[in-house]
């Protein structure tokens, strides 16, 4: 079955030269995405304290996928990482707010805004 998730991790810098890791999700975020997503998260360089989620290329996101994101936010919360997000459709911005996870990751309109907000 063609339900692929892929994740790309990149390193960015804020204007003040602080390191920011960005996780770009591609395809579906569902129960089958769990290993790929957790592996990518856990392979982040030690000491990463600023993180961005890029949802621009996500085609399909369901409640099991949101549960995986909550697991990431749980681990981020434990290590006091700050997580910013961008690229969600208006519909999924609403869904994130309904579920309450906007309390643990603020949503920005684009990458530049998500990055600037770390300064």
């Amino acid at each position: 079955m063609q339900t692929e998730t892929s994740v790309k991790v990149e390193q960015l810098k804020t204007a003040a030269e602080a390191a920011v890791a960005i996780i770009r999700f591609h395809g579906d975020i569902t129960s089958t995405s769990k290993a790929v997503i957790l592996d990518a998260y856990r392979a982040l360089p030690a000491g990463t304290d600023k993180l961005i989620f890029d949802f621009t290329k996500v085609d399909y996101l369901n409640s099991s996928g949101i549960a995986i994101l909550i697991q990431l936010l749980m681990e981020a919360h434990k290590t006091a990482q700050a997580v910013h997000s961008f690229g969600l459709s208006a519909h999924f911005q609403k869904v994130f707010a309904m579920v309450g996870i906007t309390k643990y990751t603020h949503l920005y309109p684009d990458q530049a805004a998500a990055l600037t907000a770390f300064s």
Partner: protein, 147 residues
């Protein structure tokens, strides 16, 4: 062979995760054909997908040989979707997720499907009807907008 209601459509899917995406697209194109606005179509898509995932996983226990049924119908006031499975249905109320508890590991990170369905549609009921099976019935009102 006739349909349950005028201009209704029916879809039958195997109980395999991933196939809810087909139900989602079928529901979206039915609703679009009959004039539902784009933002409500998005609500419908997520609600139908979650109801199908529950029918696949919990109702039919992922047995690919067992069917999930989706019946879509519409009149001047409402779009209705029934998602049918062969399980014994739901005996408990919908629990809204407590995000703080989830983040602290005090609540399962899962368990948001029924909450999302309820939050996204205008009416929902879960009906147990053994031995025939169970269904979720979702309703979206048409008059909340005119596109």
């Amino acid at each position: 062979m006739t349909l349950e209601k005028p201009l209704s459509i029916e879809l039958r899917l195997p109980s395999k995760l991933g196939f809810e995406k087909i139900a989602m697209q079928t529901a979206a194109s039915y609703a679009t054909l009959l004039g539902l606005g784009l933002d409500r179509v998005e609500d419908l898509k997520t609600a139908v997908a979650e109801a199908c995932i529950n029918a696949i996983e919990h109702g039919n226990h992922g047995d690919e040989k067992i069917i999930v049924g989706v019946i879509l119908s519409m009149d001047h006031e409402r779009l209705e979707v029934k998602v049918l499975d062969h399980g014994s249905g739901i005996q408990h109320a919908v629990l809204p997720p407590d995000i703080d508890k989830k983040i602290l590991g005090e609540e399962d990170p899962r368990g948001m499907g029924m909450f999302l369905i309820q939050a996204l549609v205008d009416e929902v009921e879960w009906v147990s009807n053994p031995p025939e099976g169970s269904y979720a019935r979702l309703v979206i009102y048409l008059d909340r907008e005119k596109h």
